[in-house]
């Protein structure tokens, strides 16, 4: 395929994804605005795979140094963003789940297995 058609396919994918993004969060209770911002902030850390791609294919020192710094920044975004969002959401619970610090454990323990599924 020619370069311009690959770019056009990319543009096609971009536009559809924008519409998907708009649909996904039409109504969010303000309760969750902060974690949602933090969570989407984590997801754009996906740039780190761009940094890895460049770092793995460089052919000169200057580009290599720049790419390695980009890997560092991108990982900071990914890991920091995820951990802080997880910390925040771990504190939310409904009155059904009550009772202080014991309640912190069950949801946390129940999370990962389902997450991996």
């Amino acid at each position: 395929m020619s370069e311009s058609s690959l770019v056009l396919i990319g543009f096609f994918i971009f536009v559809i994804s924008v519409f998907l993004g708009l649909e996904l969060i039409t109504k969010v209770p303000s309760l969750l605005h902060t974690p949602l911002m933090s969570g989407t902030n984590f997801i754009h850390g996906i740039v780190v795979i761009g940094a890895i791609t460049i770092a793995a294919t460089v052919n000169n020192a200057l580009a290599g140094v720049i790419a390695v710094i980009a890997v560092f920044l991108g990982t900071l975004n990914v890991v920091g963003g995820w951990v802080v969002t997880d910390r925040m959401l771990g504190m939310f619970r409904g009155s059904g789940q009550q009772r202080g610090h014991q309640a912190a454990e069950p949801p946390a323990a129940a999370g990962p297995p389902e997450g991996k599924a």
Partner: protein, 473 residues
């Protein structure tokens, strides 16, 4: 580069992995929009990220000796910082991590440019155009986020910084950057010009955020978050990876919705936030407007405790001052004691209570308050009229009636919590100083408003002791 001989599309197994990763992101974002599923949603998105990174590393067998240490360092710093940051500092934390992502996007563009041009490739206009766009958006996001971080962390003044011909200068800088970009696109190279472009884009990011006041900063952070999403999407074009295009576009689009929701909640059109230098005007008259002749009605913990103990319904209106005083746990304890006496207790949460939308919910969740007791503004406003006592703790602007009846007020038109409609309003406040936005509050002078001065934590502790005495009596 998409289509250029340098990169081909990833192999089939990698593409399938990326599709799985993207499905996780989309599902994760959706789950983040409901309190019951949000925690799991973040983990689903996390699994998607692990898949994407694993698939990417699996495609390359060189350079790991540089990639792994850099990633390990970033992961350790990010995790430690995220685990240690107090919940009150969440806005600047999000700004910092967002800036890192933007910086990464800008550096990827810069690195790719040098990789190609120093490798002897003459870039076509599409190649250089995507590189320039990614560099521009990423740099603005990085530099803007750093200024936002500095302002919120109080490393610099939170008040708007303005200078003559501000918009004209910023506009001119953008035009210069576009001109440099065109030269690079036409010539297909120019390492020095690219560096100038990068520095200019950073300067634009700094100058765009300097005039924004601290109170408006959350909207800016949300906007920059959306920007970084777009930068990630453009990076996808740069390196020829559609998963970046999708994930970046998802964040860019959902982030822009969130930005609009926030600026609506604050009644601050996004254009005003960017160009209005909010807070600057209010600065001057705020202190002077402490109208002579108006009096406040101070009260004591003893009197207030009696009032609370014999109420039928009490609504707490927490603000950022509550979090600064670290009194969330004490307020919850007081609420529990009142509930045990049969008092109906609600928490009224303004959408922008705290320092960013939804921040107060996080702060109260930290103190074990169940989220279903936290009532949003539309739910709780009809309740105030049949409420005996509204207890305003460390909140100010979100209960300021000036938003409803003073067209000259900077917050005019902002939806507020109608605490003023309660039979009695009690305001726990350190002093008569105006709030974050620097605006005088007439509610404090109302006849049904009692003021309890002092540190919020001390005051609430005294209230707990006094209410317990009531129970014993």
């Amino acid at each position: 580069m998409l289509g250029a001989t340098v990169y081909s599309l990833p192999p089939a197994w990698a593409l399938l992995g990326y599709v799985l990763a993207i499905a996780c992101f989309a599902r994760g974002i959706k789950m983040l929009t409901s309190p019951k599923t949000a925690h799991l949603g973040n983990r689903v998105a996390g699994v998607g990220m692990l898949i994407a990174i694993g698939v990417t590393l699996g495609q390359f067998h060189v350079g790991w000796q540089y990639i792994v240490p850099a990633a390990a360092l970033g992961a350790i710093i990010g995790a430690v910082w995220a685990l240690r940051v107090p919940m009150t500092a969440m806005p600047q934390m999000v700004a910092m991590f967002n800036g890192m992502g933007g910086g990464a996007a800008a550096l990827i563009a810069l690195g790719d440019f040098h990789r190609l041009t120093l490798g002897g490739v003459v870039l076509g206009p599409i190649d250089s155009g995507t590189i320039l766009l990614s560099c521009l958006i990423g740099s603005i996001s990085f530099a803007g986020s750093m200024i936002a971080f500095a302002k919120l962390q109080e490393l610099m003044t939170g008040t708007p910084i303005t200078w003559p011909f501000q918009h004209e200068i910023n506009g001119a800088l953008l035009l210069v950057l576009v001109a440099i970009g065109i030269v690079i696109m036409v010539t297909g190279g120019g390492g020095a010009l690219m560096i100038v472009f990068f520095i200019g884009a950073l300067a634009l990011g700094v100058m765009a955020v300097l005039p924004v006041g601290g109170a408006d900063m959350p909207v800016i952070i949300s906007l920059l978050n959306s920007f970084t999403g777009v930068a990630a999407a453009v990076t996808g074009f740069v390196i020829g990876n559609y998963s970046l295009v999708v994930a970046g576009a998802l964040v860019g689009a959902s982030g822009s919705i969130l930005t609009v929701l926030m600026s609506k909640a604050m009644n601050r059109p996004i254009t005003n936030v960017l160009f209005g230098a909010f807070g600057q005007v209010a600065e001057g008259p705020a202190g002077a407007a402490l109208a002579p002749g108006k009096t406040v009605h101070p009260t004591s913990a003893e009197d207030l405790a009696v009032l609370l103990a014999y109420s039928q319904q009490v609504i707490f209106v927490p603000g950022y001052g509550l979090a600064v005083a670290r009194a969330q746990h004490e307020v919850k304890e007081l609420a529990d004691i009142l509930k045990a006496r049969g008092v109906r207790v609600l928490y009224a949460i303004h959408p922008v209570a705290g320092r960013m939308p939804g921040h107060m919910n996080v702060l109260l969740a930290e103190a074990d308050v169940p989220y279903d007791e936290l009532k949003e503004m539309d739910q709780v406003n009809p309740e105030f009229a049949r409420t005996d006592v509204a207890v305003v703790i460390g909140a100010n602007d979100v209960v300021n009636p000036a938003a409803l009846n003073d067209p000259k007020s900077p917050i005019w038109g902002m939806p507020i919590l109608r605490a003023d409609q309660a039979k009695t309003v009690v305001v726990l406040k350190r002093s008569m100083r105006p709030g974050f936005a620097g605006i005088e509050n007439e509610l404090f002078y109302h006849d049904n408003t009692l003021m309890l001065f002092g540190d919020a934590k001390d005051s609430v502790n005294k209230l707990i002791a006094e209410v317990k005495l009531q129970a014993a009596a």
